[in-house]
């Protein structure tokens, strides 16, 4: 924080004066300073929280699943190849598919754990502080409420993103070193799943502005699981030949675009496997594919969720 920020001084009549720079740039800088302060504090709070520790342990535990999968496949690969008389090209393809399965499983699970951490922390971020009364001393400071919302959100999402990104990148790296197969597009998939975390974080924080931690957590998790399972509704619509159900599933995904963004990430991580399954289920999933504009929509959705959270806090009593 620079010295250019607003300062307090003794006025001529002995009355202390709040000196506020009228340069818009200085005001923006001061505002950023307050957001950073809240973010840093929220970060430290998250690192001390049980949900972060639990999330970290759960993530590490989850990584054992793809590790076991990978070990089981690669330790038996030569024996399988010999018994089926597979050539080097087939073996190479099998290695590539197996690596993508291992990485996809790992990253998918890590993403799920990070979503849970984000929802649990985000849903209690504002209403929890209001319930405990810890928000009052902060609210008496010269901080705008949107700055508080944005700072909290950044702190919560940063922790989840860091947890997810670091472990995912490490998984991709270790898998590449051990198998010699590099999932080249993994960073793009990880970025998309980071976007999902940001969306879930923004929705959770916005929900926490209006609802108690419990209600917000249940509401966000129910929406998340509902939206990410709309493919079942779509399939049911196909089976029952119900156009209404199919359309409800397709457009219902826009309520929380994380499902569709996850599908893009899954397609990337699936690699050659994605192509195979696409062939297998062609005709079944037609009409339910991720839409080309879903990522810009998701980014805009994030912005709207943050704005709603800010407006919600501005309009409510902190008691």
């Amino acid at each position: 924080m620079s010295d250019d920020r607003a300062v307090v001084s003794e006025g001529p009549a002995g009355v202390r004066e709040a000196a506020v720079s009228s340069w818009p740039l200085d005001e923006v800088r001061a505002s950023l300073g307050r957001i950073v302060a809240v973010t840093r504090f929220a970060l430290r709070e998250a690192l001390h929280g049980r949900s972060f520790v639990a999330g970290g342990l759960l993530s590490l535990a989850w990584l054992a699943v793809p590790a076991l999968l990978g070990w089981a496949f690669f330790s038996n690969l030569d024996a399988f190849a010999q018994s089926f008389g597979a050539g080097p090209q087939a073996i190479g393809f099998a290695r590539e598919v197996a690596t993508h399965i291992v990485v996809g499983t790992a990253v998918g699970g890590l993403s799920f754990v990070a979503v849970l951490v984000t929802v649990f922390r985000g849903s209690g971020s504002i209403s929890g502080e209001i319930q405990r009364g810890t928000v009052l001393a902060v609210a008496a400071r010269p901080i705008a409420r949107p700055e508080l919302v944005i700072g909290k959100l950044l702190g919560i999402v940063a922790v989840a993103v860091a947890l997810f990104t670091v472990l995912s990148a490490a998984t991709v790296l270790v898998a590449g070193l051990l198998t010699g197969v590099w999932v080249a597009d993994a960073p793009r998939a990880i970025l998309l799943l980071d976007l999902n975390l940001a969306i879930v974080g923004a929705v959770s924080v916005a929900a926490s502005v209006r609802f108690s931690p419990l209600v917000a957590t249940v509401a966000v998790l129910a929406t998340y699981f509902g939206i990410t399972n709309l493919d079942k509704l779509f399939l049911f619509g196909l089976v029952t030949d119900s156009e209404i159900l199919q359309q409800a599933a397709v457009w219902g995904r826009l309520v929380l675009p994380v499902g569709e963004v996850s599908d893009i990430a899954a397609g990337i991580l699936g690699g050659p496997l994605g192509g195979l399954t696409e062939e297998l289920i062609r005709g079944v999933s037609a009409g339910f594919e991720p839409r080309p504009w879903i990522v810009p929509y998701a980014v805009a959705y994030f912005g709207v969720a943050v704005a709603l959270g800010c407006i919600g806090l501005v309009r409510r009593d902190l008691r």
Binding site: D4, R5, A6, V7, S22, E45, G133, T134
Partner: protein, 329 residues
């Protein structure tokens, strides 16, 4: 603690309190559903005054403070703090606020809390660090500045909150039950601090149940009951004279005591200290004469006034409103 200097190269717009009034409310009202937590509060607190805000639980004291800091929105009326609408963001730089039952995440230390609030105040990092240390020392937490707050006693938490409220070197300090949870030594320390701040020109708005503390520290008080001010003024103005006289005398014989009893409506006491309820002030010289003529040594003869506690109970204890336009500040 010297305030920072303004930087001359900055173009500054300044928020300055009028010289006389720091808090002004007119018809300030807050309703939750159909219930009025605060009902038409009219208040003026001049600069440099220690103002006591009294009332039983649920009278609306905390609601009033939350309205003044902008934490909640008024249902009606208006409030100005330091010449600006209550809740005005730049003006909050000049406020210090200690919430009732100050709460803070248990994992953090005093240093982390104070540096966080220094950042929110917009202080430069170095100044924030300096003040964190200085105010931790001031409230007696310097030795435990890096200890997690969860290990603190209730009294230490209250002192932590008090230091937080002072961190911005405020022009207006709003204290909601500052002595809650403190032992007598802590209560005395808070009293001394309030008096010290008053000498420095800080205006203090004090919500308190500790009537004896209010009596000792406040220039003026307002008594709130069911969201309305039922009495306001200097403490002495609120206290009614009683029909009681305290007599301190040594060597008072039984006959003299009997004579005093004859002059009084009621006489209680012993061991050199009696309280006589009399019919009127004209009896007081006769009481003095009775003591002196008996050969006893008259040490003091004091007309008794109500204590603030008695006045408080008179005003709110009946559960009836005593509001009148004249009662409003």
């Amino acid at each position: 603690m010297a305030p920072q200097e303004l930087r001359p190269r900055d173009r500054l717009s300044q928020v300055q309190a009028p010289a006389d009034v720091v808090i002004r409310t007119q018809g300030l009202t807050k309703a939750y559903g159909g219930r009025h937590a605060l009902d038409g509060l009219d208040l003026e607190v001049p600069r440099g005054e220690v103002f006591g805000f009294l009332g039983p639980n649920g009278a609306g004291k905390t609601t009033a403070v939350l309205l003044l800091i902008g934490a909640i929105a008024a249902s009606g009326g208006r409030a100005e703090v330091l010449g600006r609408p209550a809740g005005d963001r730049p003006t909050r730089r000049l406020l210090g606020y200690l919430p009732e039952q100050f709460q803070f995440p248990g994992w953090a230390s005093t240093r982390e809390l104070y540096e966080y609030h220094a950042d929110l105040l917009g202080l430069a990092r170095r100044e924030g660090r300096r003040r964190a240390g200085a105010y931790a020392d001031l409230v007696g937490l310097g030795q435990v500045i890096d200890r997690p707050v969860r290990t603190f006693s209730k009294g230490m938490l209250q002192r932590l909150g008090l230091g937080q409220a002072l961190l911005g070197e405020p022009a207006l300090l709003l204290l909601d039950e500052p002595t809650s949870g403190l032992d007598p030594v802590g209560i005395r320390a808070v009293r001394d601090l309030i008096l010290y701040l008053r000498e420095r020109g800080t205006t203090i708005f004090l919500n308190s149940h500790q009537l004896s503390e209010v009596e000792l520290t406040c220039d003026r008080v307002a008594v709130l009951h069911r969201g309305r001010v039922v009495a306001a003024g200097r403490v002495a103005e609120l206290l009614r004279a009683t029909q009681e006289v305290e007599i301190r005398a040594a060597g008072l014989a039984e006959a003299a005591i009997a004579r005093l009893r004859g002059l009084s409506v009621r006489l209680e006491g012993g061991d050199g200290r009696w309280v006589a309820e009399v019919a009127g002030p004209e009896v007081i010289p006769e009481l003095a004469a009775a003591v002196v003529e008996s050969g006893a040594r008259l040490e003091a003869l004091l007309p008794r006034r109500e204590t603030l506690e008695e006045a408080f109970l008179r005003l709110v204890g009946s559960g009836q409103d005593h509001t009148s336009p004249a009662a409003r500040t």
